[in-house]
Amino acid sequence: MRYPTLNRTPLTTLAKRFLGKEELGPDERAQVKAHLVDRGSGDTMDLRPLAKRVKEMQSLHQELLDDPDYENDPDRIEGRLSELLHRGLKAAGMPDEALDDKDFWQYLVMKYFWWLVVWRHHTVQHEKYKQFKEGGKYLRYLNHEKKEVSVLARMYIRADLALDDEGSYELAWKGKLATDLWQSHLIPVDTGYTPVLVRAILRRQASQPLTRDPLRLCAKDITRSNTNVVPTGWTDEDADEYVDHHWAMHL
C-alpha cells in the first residue's frame, strides 16, 4: 500500500517555521503537503477515516478542557484521545509497513496533530519546560524517536495496550494523573510487552490508586519480579493475582 511520508529535514525546517502557532492553517498545511513523499506500492492509503476522527478529537478535546474531571489532568485527556487515534488509523487500514515507518508518523503529526502536540507540551506547570519555542527541545515530541516521548507513538501504544477483549479502550483513561504510570512504568519497561499485565495494573490503579511515590516503588517491584516470569500466556485472573500481590505491599 502507498502511504505519505515526511522525512526529517522538512520536519525540522517546518517545525521551526511554525513555532508560536497553536494550530496550522491552510497555508502551513500546504507547506507540509509540498514535502510529502509517497512510499510503498499498490493502492493508496485512504486517510479520510483518520481525518474524520481528528475532527472528533478536536471537538472532544474542547469538551474535556471544560470538564472538571479532566481539566487539570492533560494526561487523562491524552488517554481519551488515544482511542480515536487508534480507531482512525485502524479504519484507514494502516499497513504494518507504515506503522513501522517514522516518516509516516512525522507526516501525520505535521498534517493533523500539530495542535495536539503543542497543547500537550504547553500544559506543563513551569514556563521553562514549555518546549515549543526557539531553542526548545520540541522536535523530540514530533520526530517519533523515543516511544514514551513522541506524542503520537505513545498514544498509539497506550490505546493498543488498553484495548481489552471486549473492544473497550476505557483503561487508557480510567486512572487519574497517570503521566508517570504510562511514561515511566508501563511503556518503556518490560511490563509493556504484556497487555494483559498492563491492563491489570491499570484496573488496580483505577480502583485503588497509589500516589506517586508508592506507585513508583510498586512499579519497581513489579519490574523486578518480571525478571522471573514470562507472562505472555497469562489470563486476566493470573495478572490480577500478580498485581494484587505487589499492590498489597504498598498500600
Partner: protein, 335 residues
C-alpha cells in the same frame, strides 16, 4: 531502565538446566546469535531469511538439555505436564509480542532434533516484519500453570526454570545519532554563527557516561544544504562514505568526551552502567555471536581512560571491510 534487568532468583537447583539452556542458539539465515547475544542483520535478511532456534549443537546436547530440565523438574516435584518450552518475539518499539513456538516438556522431548524453524520467508509473525527497531526473542522453559507454593521452588504460572534471550537489530534503528541540519539558527545556538562554511559540528557538551543522559542530549550537525544533498542521493559512493565518516566523527567526539568525564570523576565501569557510553562499550565488546565479553569491555574502558585514540581506531576497524577500498575508489575518481 537502570533496574529493569536486575534479577533476583529465589529458587534452588536450577543452575545446571540454565547452563544447558544457554547452549541454545538463534540463527537468522547464516547469522548466529548466542545466549543473551545481539546481532545486526540487514533489513533484507531480516525480512527474508529463515529464523531457526537450535536447542543444543547436536542430538547429544539436546538430550542433555532435556535431561537437565527433567532433573530440575524432579528436584522440585514439578510434573513435566506443568512445564512448557516457549519462544517469544517482541517488537521493542511497538511492544507487539507473539509466541513463535510452544511445546509441553513431553512434546519437546519428542522433537526430532534440536532445531526448530520459527519463521520461513512467507510465514512470519508481526514482530518479525518490523525493521525499524530491535527485535527481542526470548526462549525459556516455564511453568504452564500455578502450582502449590513451597520454599525455594517456582510456583507461579509463567515463572521460568531456564531462559535465554537474543536481540536482532535490522540495521535501521532510529535511536542513533542522526544528523541534524546545521542552519542559521542552529549555528547561532551552537555559537558558530560567524563560521558559515562549517560543514559539521559535534555537540557533545553532555556527559555520555552519566546514566541520566540520553542519545537526545548529543547532536551531530551537518550543513543543511549538504545534509539535503546526502539525503537526496542516498545510494552514491560519496554519500555512503560521508555517512561512515560522520559516524566516525561523532564516535571520536563522544569517546574523547567520555574519556574526560571518566578521568575527571574519576569513574569506574559500575558508575557508568546504563549510560550512553556504556551502550557504546557493549557494542564494541561483543563476540562473533553477539554476546558482550566483560574482559573485552574492561580493556576498552581502560583504553578510553588512558589512550582514547586507540578506542577510536577500534571503532574505525569495525566499519565495513570496504571502507578503505571505497576511499581509494573515490580518490581515484570513482563514483
Amino acid at each position: 531502565m537502570a533496574s529493569e534487568h536486575r534479577s533476583s532468583r529465589p529458587y534452588s537447583g536450577l543452575r545446571k538446566c540454565q547452563k544447558a539452556f544457554q547452549e541454545t542458539v538463534l540463527r537468522v539465515g547464516d547469522v548466529e546469535v548466542a545466549h543473551n547475544g545481539s546481532r545486526q542483520v540487514s533489513p533484507t535478511e531480516f525480512l527474508n531469511e529463515r529464523f531457526q532456534i537450535s536447542f543444543g549443537e547436536d542430538r547429544q546436547s539436546f538430550a542433555t538439555l532435556v535431561s537437565e530440565l527433567k532433573t530440575a523438574a524432579d528436584t522440585h516435584g514439578i510434573s513435566s505436564d506443568d512445564l512448557k518450552i516457549v519462544v517469544i518475539a517482541s517488537s521493542t518499539y511497538w511492544k507487539i509480542t507473539k509466541e513463535l513456538f510452544s511445546a509441553s516438556l513431553d512434546e519437546f522431548t519428542a522433537l526430532d532434533g534440536p532445531n526448530v524453524t520459527l519463521a520461513g520467508r512467507h510465514d512470519r509473525e508481526r514482530p518479525l516484519t518490523f525493521t525499524a527497531k530491535t527485535l527481542r526473542i526470548e526462549a525459556g522453559c516455564l511453568l504452564s500453570k500455578t502450582i502449590e507454593k513451597r520454599p525455594l521452588r517456582p510456583f507461579r504460572k509463567g515463572t521460568w526454570l531456564a531462559k535465554t534471550h537474543y536481540a536482532i537489530n535490522p540495521g535501521q534503528d532510529f535511536e542513533g545519532f542522526e544528523p541534524k541540519p546545521l542552519d542559521a539558527p542552529a549555528r547561532s545556538d551552537l555559537k558558530i554563527k560567524e563560521h558559515e562554511q562549517t560543514q559539521r559540528f559535534m555537540d557533545v557538551e553532555a556527559d555520555p557516561t552519566d546514566p541520566a543522559t540520553t542519545d537526545e542530549d548529543f547532536g551531530l550537525y551537518v550543513d543543511e544544504l549538504t545534509l539535503r544533498s546526502l539525503e537526496e542521493n542516498p545510494r552514491t559512493l560519496g554519500t555512503s562514505l560521508m555517512q561512515r565518516i560522520l559516524g566516525m566523527d561523532m564516535a571520536r567526539a563522544i569517546i574523547y568526551r567520555a574519556s574526560k568525564a571518566i578521568n575527571d570523576g574519576p569513574k569506574s565501569m559500575g558508575d557508568i552502567k546504563n549510560s550512553v557510553f556504556d551502550n557504546v562499550l557493549d557494542a564494541f565488546s561483543r563476540d562473533d555471536k553477539g554476546a558482550v565479553s566483560e574482559d573485552t569491555k574492561e580493556k576498552l574502558f581502560a583504553n578510553v581512560k588512558a589512550t582514547p585514540e586507540i578506542f577510536v581506531s577500534c571503532v574505525e576497524d569495525t566499519l565495513e571491510a570496504d571502507f578503505g577500498k571505497d576511499i581509494r575508489e573515490l580518490a581515484s575518481g570513482g563514483e
